[in-house]
Symmetry: C2
Subunit: 209 residues, 2 copies
DNA sequence: GCGCCAAGTAAACGTTCGTTTACTGGAGAA
DNA sequence: TTCTCCAGTAAACGAACGTTTACTTGGCGC
């Protein structure tokens, strides 16, 4: 097939780029390093969780935090440093485990389908970071050290690591299509057939069949 | 906490960017539009599947195909057009279904843990595209129209769509940590405890419990 | 009230990006 | 042989990127 002459295909999505607005547009920002640092981290998490690492610009994050990109560099050294700070100590197993073994499946499933908090959604950040060589290593380390290993310890024999890996895969897959790449069939509330089915499968893995 | 003065944190990964080399460096490239088009698509798929959409530059793709970026535009109109062409008609359910219902779980599990082909790995491309607003819509449409709906039809009652969604989630999660964001616990061959466990869980969903 | 340090800004750095424009040259038809 | 497409190239466009430099200014200790 010869190349088409000049038929520019209609763009699938406009390059429209909504410049993030500061939360308080006209307030002259009182000088509070601690607060500013927290604002930057919140804005960064929200950006990384919705647009991924590569597509989240320093200028956008700074604007969303109500400050200047140079200040972000001053606080975190670089974009990579900001990413590290944004996910450091924030991926924990506990929110998923806060339940007895017998109802863990249902607990996790309902957690997945609860209201999202984009500024605290570390799992989405890490999943979206998969394509960025710059930060991919960090994500794999975190998943292994903070999820698979402690979960395997918590589950116990038999086949602890395989069952932990499987739980992670199922949870991440569901999370993916619920949050990062939303599919229609994952769009319902926490009382749907899908959630019940998901809960049952998770519980089966927890129980070791 | 005050910002650190000038402590640039050691970079986690060098900005080293291996400029992709043409497959045949010094060959003066014979003029074959069809072949060139195929070369570009192959290079594009490989790039998108390893670096994601945003991080795959037109120059890198063109260089890997042994041509000039302007030629890529001439053939596909734009980067988005290239992406569309790269995934069009390539995400199919059939490779996963080529088995009888009774052994489908094992079939899929082994397929996931077989040797990867980066130039044909559409599933990875779509998973990595999750963070790119430009192409995210395409990915969701493809997953729904090419995977969930036909799979639900193939599975049949009861709870066809929920089971299809669950299968997609589990497959994608495993694929994620096997291909896109490789974890140590997913690194083994096709004859591991994990693969057996995965096969069993998949089969349970296929069987409807 | 007055320094002074640090919080914060403004503007530019050099690079890379996707894309455009103008050109070159190989090969089939006459 | 010469004409003429069209595959392919070279170079540059403007915009956006992460980051750096130099500057301004608010609030606290004395």
């Amino acid at each position: 097939m010869p190349p088409r002459k000049r038929t520019t295909p209609a763009p699938l999505a406009q390059p429209f780029k909504a410049r993030a607005q500061p939360v308080k547009p006209a307030a002259p920002r009182l000088r509070d390093a601690e607060q500013t640092r927290a604002d930057i981290l919140r804005a960064a998490r929200r950006a990384f969780a919705t647009a991924g690492y590569a597509r989240s610009g320093m200028r956008d994050i700074a604007a969303a935090a109500g400050i200047t990109p140079a200040l972000v560099v001053r606080y975190f050294g670089s974009k990579q440093g900001l990413f590290v700070a944004a996910i450091a100590g924030e991926l924990a197993l506990e929110p998923f485990l806060a339940a007895e073994r017998g109802v863990l499946g249902r607990h996790i499933a309902r957690h997945l389908f609860s209201k999202p908090r984009p500024e605290a959604d570390i799992l989405t950040i890490l999943l979206l970071a998969a394509g960025d060589e710059e930060v991919r290593g960090l994500a794999t380390e975190l998943f292994t050290a903070r999820i698979v290993q402690p979960l395997a310890r918590w589950l116990g024999p038999p086949r602890a690591e395989a069952r932990a890996s499987l739980l992670l895969a199922l949870i991440s897959g569901a999370w993916m299509f619920r949050r990062a790449l939303p599919l229609r069939s994952f769009a319902g509330g926490p009382d749907t057939v899908l959630v019940a089915e998901l809960a049952a499968q998770l519980q089966r893995i927890v129980d070791g069949e």
